[in-house]
């Protein structure tokens, strides 16, 4: 009996083994060796170039104007995306939750952009933003609003704002679905009881809906912040980091430095810097938000 029990336990350990091996080899091992590579002058090709150079890469990063510009863009995109995408998603969710007909069809419509890739979304909008035949400038012209016509991607700060618009269009539906599920999870009796006690719409929203949505806020703000800090595909296809380095983010700079300029030691150090930024902001945000949650 005892022997059979032992065997059963070992079989269960074998169940974990494949996942453990893949995860260790292809996530943890390279992540751990990033720490070391960040201290070398590796070019990605020759092993002779893999020399230990101490903190030189980090010194290089923190003294380059290109990094500060990329860090600024990363933070601008992450902050405005996190804020705006949640405002849009929550507004849509509240309205969709209250409409009379076609709830499912409207929800699906908002969700469709979530299904397409960042590359495809970026491409469609690049054409829509086009200065000579783009739909947006065309529409402004037909409304006799020529004054509002823009070069959406060719100059700053337009380019950064245009990228943020695409991100919000593409990803709002995802957060909307989460808010919608949270709204539908609020017991109807609570709202009815408050209404009988004479609470106004706004009071009910402020004192029932908002506190009970706190869990969804935490999840959505955290997910959006991390998504915003890692934006890559849309930038790759829409601006290639340009004009100049003007729309380069840290993720994009990691790619350019590592694979375009073949300075992989520097690229890895940059990736480590990004990782630390994501960790600090992510943990700080979650800690603050968790405190405000209400359990039902």
């Amino acid at each position: 009996m005892f022997k059979k029990g032992m065997k059963r336990e070992n079989v269960l350990l074998l169940f974990i083994l494949p996942a453990f091996v893949f995860y260790t080899l292809f996530v943890i091992a390279p992540a751990a060796s990033s720490i070391w590579l960040g201290f070398t002058s590796w070019d990605g090709i020759t092993s002779a170039s893999m020399k230990f150079i101490g903190l030189d890469n980090y010194r290089n990063i923190f003294t380059s104007a290109r990094f500060y510009s990329a860090a600024k863009n990363t933070l601008i995109i992450a902050a405005s995306f996190t804020l705006l995408v949640n405002v849009v998603a929550l507004t849509l969710a509240i309205v969709v939750d209250n409409i009379r007909v076609g709830k499912n069809i409207v929800r699906s419509a908002f969700y469709i952009p979530v299904l397409i890739s960042g590359i495809i979304a970026g491409f469609i909008w690049t054409i829509m933003y086009n200065t000579s035949f783009g739909i947006i400038n065309g529409l402004l012209a037909s409304l006799h609003l020529e004054a509002l016509q823009q070069d959406f991607l060719g100059r700053m700060p337009n380019a950064l704002m245009s990228i943020i618009v695409v991100l919000i269009w593409q990803i709002s539906g995802y957060y909307m679905v989460i808010y919608l599920a949270a709204l539908q999870g609020i017991p109807q009796e609570l709202n009815e009881a408050a209404a009988i006690d004479g609470a106004s719409h706004w009071q009910r929203f402020r004192n029932i809906t908002v506190p009970l949505l706190a869990g969804a806020f935490t999840v959505n703000l955290t997910l959006a912040l991390i998504t915003g800090l890692k934006v890559f595909d849309q930038i790759a296809i829409m601006t290639d980091g340009g004009p100049g380095f003007a729309t380069e983010t840290i993720t994009y700079m990691v790619y350019k430095v590592g694979f375009g300029e073949m300075r992989q030691g520097l690229g890895t150090a940059l990736a480590m810097t990004l990782f630390v930024i994501i960790m600090i902001l992510g943990v700080a945000q979650t800690t603050i938000l968790r405190k405000r949650e209400v359990q039902l």
Binding site: E9, L13, F15, I16, P18, A19, F22, Y23, L25, F26, V27, I28, A29, P30, A31, S33, S34, L92, V95, V96, N98, I99, R100, V106, A109, I112, P113, L115, I116, S117, G118, I119, I120, A121, F123, I124, I127, M128, S132, W169, G173, Y174, V177, I178, A181, G215, L223, L229, A236, I237, T251, V254, Y255, G258, A271, M272, L274, F275, I278, M279
Partner: protein, 296 residues
């Protein structure tokens, strides 16, 4: 209620004012419904714009991007399939998505099951180790990963991206499956074990079928991520040959910068399969997101 019953005139007044309030509420609600339908149409309009553009010649797109195609013209799709390497890219995308998902579903639920059912200190440590992976962005280990793929001799093969996808799904997959398995009573497994079934067949014949809703959500969300992935396949798959749909669309924009008609045909080929799956399996999309969010 009792008070209004006691006084018939007050009851009539109250009923009248309630009816007026309800009419006002109705009007507002229908107004909102109409408004949200308009917003939903604006949200899907870029997809509509891609579809009509794919059915137009390049000249037509440039002349009037908002106009309907003058006739049903499939020339772009014919060129795309006969004159470019796009068909090979479609096959690659399908192959990578299907094979990776099949292996993920073989590896991850089994590990999650063993972690949840064994529940010892060792498996708790493994659980924490796996979950930590959610904090590690791809960029943080991307550069050393290529060195490692070359070292294993799988750089430029399909095995590379598939292994990376499996490894990358362990963190979230473990989270999703362990919390689902918690809700499944152990009694069924225990009686099967008394009947002489071994661990392997208990899991695959008895437990795994009970995980179907969870598996469906995982396959859909994770599969969508793989289908839409861009950076990793671009870097890892062999150069000089077709890679994936997204990588091809990205390189079309560089190579055929004036043949937007062809690129739009590619965009439609990338969107249609996902759209069909979405319509067919909508409830799993919604469940997957909300389950993932609740656990995350």
């Amino acid at each position: 209620m009792t008070r209004t019953e006691a006084n018939p005139t007050h009851a009539a007044d109250a009923a009248a004012s309630m009816a007026a309030a309800r009419r006002k509420k109705n009007l507002l609600s229908w107004g909102l419904t109409l408004l949200i339908f308009v917003v939903a149409l604006i949200f899907v309009s870029p997809i509509w714009f891609s579809l009509i553009s794919a059915l137009k010649t390049n000249g037509e797109i440039m002349r009037d991007p908002t106009a309907m195609p003058s006739s049903l013209y499939f020339g772009n799709f014919v060129t795309l399939w006969n004159k470019t390497r796009f068909p090979a890219a479609v096959l690659n995308s399908l192959f990578l998505t299907i094979v990776s998902e099949a292996l993920i579903i073989f590896v991850v639920p089994m590990a999650a099951y063993a972690i949840e059912r064994r529940g010892t200190r060792l498996t708790n440590v493994v659980y924490a180790y796996f979950i930590a992976g959610m904090m590690i962005p791809f960029q943080a280990y991307m550069i050393p990963l290529f060195k490692e793929l070359k070292m294993f001799g799988i750089f430029g093969t399909y095995a590379g991206p598939i292994a990376i996808y499996i490894a990358g799904s362990v963190a979230f997959g473990t989270l999703l499956f362990t919390s689902f398995i918690k809700g499944i009573p152990r009694e069924i497994e225990e009686s099967a074990s008394i009947d002489g079934c071994n661990q392997f067949s208990i899991f695959w014949r008895i437990v795994f079928p009970l995980l179907t809703p969870c598996t469906a959500s995982m396959v859909i969300l994770n599969g969508l991520g793989i289908w839409n992935d861009f950076l990793m396949p671009m870097l890892v798959l062999p150069s000089g040959r077709a890679k994936t749909i997204n990588v091809e669309i990205y390189s079309f924009v560089g190579e055929m910068s004036s043949r937007w008609d062809i690129v739009f045909a590619g965009v439609i080929c990338g969107i249609i399969p996902v759209l069909i799956l979405f319509v067919a399996l909508q409830k799993y999309f919604v469940k997957g997101i909300t389950a993932g969010a609740a656990k995350g």
